[in-house]
Symmetry: C2
Subunit: 146 residues, 2 copies
Amino acid sequence: MIGGMTSPLRTPVPDAGDDRAQTWTIREIADEFGVTHRTIRHYEDLGLITPERRGTVRVYHRRDRTRLNLILRGKRLGFPLEEIRTIVDLYDAPLGKASQLEYVLGQIDERRADLEQRRADIDAAITELGRFEDRCRDELRGLRAR
Amino acid sequence: MIGGMTSPLRTPVPDAGDDRAQTWTIREIADEFGVTHRTIRHYEDLGLITPERRGTVRVYHRRDRTRLNLILRGKRLGFPLEEIRTIVDLYDAPLGKASQLEYVLGQIDERRADLEQRRADIDAAITELGRFEDRCRDELRGLRAR
DNA sequence: ATCATGCTTTACGTTTACGTCAACGTCAAG
DNA sequence: CTTGACGTTGACGTAAACGTAAAGCATGAT
């Protein structure tokens, strides 16, 4: 089960006063998202997340959690991590100049096309399952009618 | 491009008269489905398809093509091959006894639940993309307004 | 002071899904 | 009968996505 426990870092950050600047350790993040710390670090190796370093230790912010959510959903959808990186990078690209915006909009269209293809596959699979289920139920009724 | 060329085997099968009993070679199947013969053989190693053997040579029937379609769609959806096997096996299970039918119906429900979870993920991703696109377009208009 | 915990890096192991030879069989054509 | 064009079986290679020790700091607790 994935809860929403908020476990404050023992170093409440000097720049405090803002309690929304909450941070988490790698273990807390891993537990909460139901993955191992090794997985988290693997994503970092691939540049999917870039937690702050306080000395040698990793400190995770809200931003990292947002990215992790995107990553895990991408995984559930079967995207390879490299492709997932292009997606999460997309979401926090600079967007400064018009050319960059045009590029991002193009990427968005590509992504959407991909996702809609997948949805079509899923819908096909579901209706097929439905037909198969009907056949099975018919068969079952036939057996019980005797 | 994946066409539908029908290339008859040079041995038109003694049990002929029925032209629907068409067969294909591994190369034809591979080309038509856009995969390599190695991939086809890999699926056979895992028990996903079981082509007829005429001597030492593999002979593919319509049934194998049906399975291959299921397999490739499963792959597009990101299912691992082992899981895909349980799915294709499901579709041509015996269905003889009621107990077997009950089991299959249960499996169908599981599959459907999985697929619907995926569809939910996809829908979420698509609407998120939509919101992001709107923000980008706003930004773009802002730049051009100057 | 030291001891246990938790975090870190380094590095090799594993599973999945094929790719890539190598070496051989076979069958029709020249 | 030899030459290709396919087909077949190993067997090893590889890329992705982590798992699994091994061994070193850092820090709070005893």
